[in-house]
């Protein structure tokens, strides 16, 4: 089977989700990657050196600068006659583009796959991860999005594959990007972090949230995450939300601080390798999934942990 994987990138760097989507694609067939953007040849070159990639299609034009879903989907559809499957990471962009591709191909998409059971059989979570569905597609072409935390990215290799330019420009004029407010942080990305320190409603306010959790995150080289309650209360902005409607993460260590463990939150982090929870309520549901649980006041525990780590 020939697979076209959509690359997630910001024009200069390849997001880790792309690597996971490629890893999923390799389990289904032979992978070629579509890079759409403007002045993004560095991205194409990097991807050409990745394990499992057999060809890179580079659509480099001003019309693709903001990677608008309508234009990128039209571009992917132009290439799809050569392919049996379109695979995108389940990122904001992937989730915007893939259903448009599926609808025009007149095939049903399979969203958020977490396992490849066969070339046409996939596992995916439903009901916020409270059930796992196994689905089989007999559609003439597959359209999939990939839950990237479920696939281990492949590495680099010594040789590079060919990069083929795509000349057609798709400028549908159906939407226009007029502003963006992108968060820049020195900390690791939530999606690829090895350790995540995550805070909930108990952190009181933005100042307390940051003053309490930032030193620990810095010490551990961790990303910061949050529950929806913490985001809604304005402690931190929404890109940090973990859960059914936020980021889905699976780090080596997830430290949940003052988070009760609602099912919608668990949906975003329960695949973490080790879960550590600190909560003053011994009955908090977070303890049902925690490998290590401390019942206690976080405002005493966090400073003490920092002190012990320094010792």
């Amino acid at each position: 089977m020939k697979i076209l994987v959509m690359a997630e990138h910001n024009g200069t760097t390849v997001e880790s989700q792309t690597l996971a989507a490629i890893a999923a694609g390799v389990q289904i067939g032979s992978v070629e990657v579509l890079v759409a953007g403007h002045a993004c040849s560095a991205v194409a070159e990097r991807i050409a050196g990745l394990e499992g990639v057999e060809r890179v299609w580079l659509a480099d034009a001003p019309a693709f600068a903001s990677q608008l879903a309508e234009n990128v989907a039209a571009l992917a559809l132009e290439l799809m006659p050569r392919f049996d499957a379109f695979v995108a990471p389940a990122t904001s962009r992937g989730k915007a583009v893939a259903p448009r591709v599926a609808a025009i191909l007149d095939v049903m998409q399979i969203s958020d796959i977490v396992a490849v059971d066969g070339p046409r059989v996939f596992k995916r979570p439903i009901y916020a991860g409270n059930a796992i569905q196994t689905v089989e597609s007999e559609e003439p072409k597959l359209v999939l999005t990939v839950r990237t935390s479920a696939f281990r990215p492949l590495g680099e290799r010594a040789h590079v594959c060919e990069i083929v330019p795509v000349a057609t420009v798709h400028e549908l004029g159906l939407s226009e990007l007029i502003g963006s407010d992108v968060v820049k942080s020195d900390r690791p990305e939530l999606a690829s972090a090895k350790i995540i320190v995550s805070g909930g409603r108990a952190l009181r306010d933005a100042e307390t949230f940051s003053r309490t959790l930032a030193p620990l995150a810095d010490r551990l080289g961790a990303a910061i995450g949050a529950s929806r309650a913490a985001v809604d209360a304005g402690y931190i902005s929404n890109e940090y939300q973990v859960g059914q409607t936020g980021k889905i993460v699976a780090p080596e260590i997830y430290l949940a601080v003052g988070i009760s463990g609602a099912i919608q939150h668990l949906a975003g982090m329960k695949e973490s390798r080790v879960i550590i929870a600190i909560n003053s309520d011994a009955d908090a549901p977070i303890f049902q999934v925690a490998d290590y649980g401390l019942v206690g006041d976080l405002f005493e525990a966090i400073p003490e942990i920092l002190k012990q780590l320094a010792a």
Binding site: N130, E139, E176, L220, N238
Partner: protein
């Protein structure tokens, strides 16, 4: 005097799902999730979509809000709730079985031809199948633009401006009309339904169209092989001091 009013309509797509506060139970035979006798409610993201549409009408940016659902007969309850919240009228496209997003998008497209909305607003995903597809598929089939995961919607006569929540922050999109917008949690807090409004809703129109009369092939494309409970995490240990947590972190870091 006869006045010709240009109606600017918003169609809101709503879906009836297992209530967000009810824990889903997987049938032991692996055939699916058991919904019998459980509380069904409007998908929370659709409630937000409806609230957004009603507010746009209240601001004068639209004149009519139509709630549309594709589902089984009992989805009428969800449309009654939509009417009680403030939708002016509602349509149920009734089908015997649960339709997939592609079939829903095709069905909606066919129904929209008569309504000619300026905007379709839908939830970004339904919390049962978590597919995150219907709005985008509908937009593609209609050849319209899309703005997903909205946290702000500003509608003017010829365009809509939307703040979209994306992985690394926020993007503001401007779209010509008509267009499809999907909603995220932070767009608004839906109003609760008052008893008088629930009574009033009884007299608002609820049209039922049989899916079979639309001439669309809505048969399922995907085969559900099985549905299982996720693997459970084995129970962990309780530690008794912050020092123990620090030790665990040190050990894990060293590993």
């Amino acid at each position: 005097m006869l006045e010709i009013v240009v109606q600017s309509r918003i169609v809101v797509l709503v879906k009836q799902v297992l209530d967000a506060n009810v824990r889903p139970r997987v049938r032991p035979d692996g055939s699916g999730v058991d919904l019998a006798h459980l509380k069904l409610s409007m998908n929370p993201f659709d409630e937000i979509a409806l609230e957004a549409a009603i507010r746009l009408k209240e601001q004068g940016a639209a004149q009519e809000v139509v709630a549309l659902t594709v589902g089984r007969g009992k989805a009428q309850d969800t449309l009654r709730a939509a009417l009680a919240m403030g939708a002016d009228r509602s349509i149920l496209v009734e089908s015997e079985f649960e339709l997939e997003p592609l079939a829903i998008a095709k069905t909606v497209r066919s129904v929209l031809a008569d309504i000619e909305p300026v905007l379709v607003i839908a939830g970004k995903q339904a919390i049962d199948d978590d597919c995150h597809q219907t709005g985008q598929m509908l937009a593609a089939l209609l050849g319209w633009g899309q703005a997903l995961c909205a946290s702000r919607i500003a509608l003017s006569p010829d365009q809509v401006e939307v703040d979209c929540e994306v992985d690394n922050g926020r993007e503001t999109l401007r779209l010509p009309l008509p267009a499809v917008v999907t909603t995220d949690l932070r767009l608004n807090t839906p109003r609760s339904i008052s008893l008088p409004n629930l009574m009033k809703a009884k007299s608002k129109p609820l049209d039922i169209v049989a899916s079979s009369t639309l001439g669309i092939d809505v048969r399922p494309r995907l085969k559900i092989v099985e549905v299982r409970e996720p693997p459970v995490r084995s129970a962990g240990v309780r530690v008794h001091s912050a020092a123990e947590i620090a030790q665990v972190l040190k050990d894990l870091e060293a590993a």
